[in-house]
């Protein structure tokens, strides 16, 4: 079985790799590139801990082959902060106790990042539907919703002052 050359952009940087076609995107990120932000939870596309952005859409990177992402643009949780400055969602999760063990957090952050990019003013219901593919076993989701609302206020404030 031939290895395949792939080329993609990850957090703004061009990456080239030669991979077995069966390599899942999550393994490319974690084991090949050392980007261990996205987590492997269930590895059956249920839990959402491996969620990353691929070409402007949230996907579960445990159910995408790296070869499928070739030519595409990937953003992981490592690409969310602006240098030392946390993204308003990251600040919101810290501020509102949107995590306890933190295992689901990278997936929650990347999912809610895309949710707010697509819809800057979601209702509470839309937030809950938006994160329905991400499982958190600690928080009961209450504080995650609060964290997203916190980020919405920050982002809205930023936009208004810019």
């Amino acid at each position: 079985m031939a290895k395949t050359d792939i080329k993609l952009t990850i957090n703004g940087e061009e990456v080239e790799a030669t991979v077995e076609p069966r390599m899942l995107l999550i393994y490319l990120l974690r084991e090949h590139l050392g980007l261990t932000g996205a987590h492997i939870g269930c590895e059956t596309s249920h839990c959402g801990a491996c969620t990353v952005d691929l070409d402007g859409k949230s996907v579960k990177s445990c159910t995408v082959f790296a070869v499928q992402a070739s030519g595409g643009e990937v953003m992981t949780v490592e690409g969310l902060a602006n240098g030392a400055e946390l993204h308003p969602l990251q600040a919101g999760f810290a501020e509102e106790h949107g995590l306890q063990c933190g295992f689901c957090t990278p997936g929650m952050l990347m999912r809610t990042y895309r949710l707010l990019e697509d819809n800057p003013n979601p209702s509470e219901d839309e937030i809950r539907v938006g994160i329905s593919g991400n499982i958190c076993r600690c928080t009961g989701y209450q504080n995650i919703v609060k964290a997203v609302r916190h980020a919405m206020r920050e982002l809205g404030h930023k936009e208004a002052t810019e």
Binding site: M1, E20, P21, R22, S58, V59, T63, V64, G133
Partner: protein
């Protein structure tokens, strides 16, 4: 959870894709969104030697109003279908169904073509396509042919599609203007397959039912067309008695298995309940409610 290895192909045209499917035969598998196939490959239930990824085939994407039909490219994702104004206007049951399939991330990858073509009785769209009287457009080495959704499903993962054919589009005839519709799905959690689900399309003329179609998900080896149940509604006012009779007739054709979704009796009963509720909701919508 590492799949067996394979060679990866990303054809640049439909003809090239069909050529590869022909070339590799049983050792090849078609990759659309991958959210049914990749899990099967991780479990090594599927071990294709060649994956033919349709990702680059933009001609298989998009939703078009062709007058009598809506034509949906097979590689259109569930999320794209959900966002389509054309689909929402002519055929709102499609969006209602998308919303109960898997979760947002999976709907970004999962395609309508994959959902209807792979023959998994747990998939939601086959029953909806049966209720809509959809037509599948298949392309093989000899050209294109059309085959109806009703009759396409022969058994678990067994369909009318020949091994050397590719599903390229789905033609959905527009239901009558002002029709009522509903897709009711009982599931244990977000992302689950149905314990039982029912798709209903109906239309009224002068207060009496002039058109009805009912199809069921995951209560048999394939999606099931509940033709007798639908026929029993025709000419009635679709009152409570007619709804209950149709639900009974729908239950009679169910042949579910006992599994983690529940025992046979429960699932058959739930198919009746979903049918009953879907008819009631479709009726309300047909009346403009």
């Amino acid at each position: 959870m590492i799949p067996a290895n394979f060679d990866y192909h990303r054809p640049a045209s439909v003809d090239e894709a069909v050529g590869l499917i022909e070339q590799y035969g049983d050792d090849g598998a078609i990759l659309a969104g991958g959210h049914s196939l990749i899990p099967m490959m991780k479990l090594r239930f599927a071990t294709p030697g060649h994956l033919i990824d349709l990702k680059a085939l933009d001609e298989l994407r998009g939703i078009e109003d062709t007058g009598a039909d809506i034509r949906i490219g097979a590689m259109t994702t569930q999320a794209e279908l959900r966002a389509s104004a054309v689909a929402a206007e002519a055929c709102p049951i499609l969006a209602e169904t998308v919303d109960v399939i898997a979760d947002p991330q999976v709907r970004n990858m999962g395609t309508l073509g994959g959902n209807v073509a792979n023959g998994d009785p747990g998939n939601d769209m086959p029953a909806v396509m049966m209720a809509l009287g959809a037509i599948y457009v298949l392309r093989g080495p000899g050209g294109e042919r059309e085959t109806p959704a009703n009759g396409f499903y022969k058994g678990i993962f067994d369909t009318e599609r020949a091994a050397n054919e590719l599903l390229v589009a789905i033609r959905v005839p527009k239901p009558p203007a002002g029709h009522g519709y509903a897709y009711k799905k009982l599931k244990r959690k977000v992302g689950d397959y149905a314990t039982a689900a029912a798709a209903v399309i109906l239309a009224l003329e002068g207060g009496a039912c002039s058109h009805a179609a009912i199809a069921l998900t995951n209560v048999g080896p394939t999606a099931l067309n509940a033709g007798d149940a639908a026929k029993s509604l025709i000419g009635t006012s679709v009152d409570g008695e007619a709804q209950a009779r149709a639900a009974e007739l729908a239950m009679e054709i169910c042949d579910p298995v006992s599994d983690m979704h529940g025992p046979v009796e429960y699932r058959r009963n739930m198919a009746g309940v979903m049918t009953y509720r879907a008819i009631a909701e479709a009726l309300g919508r047909a009346k403009g409610g």
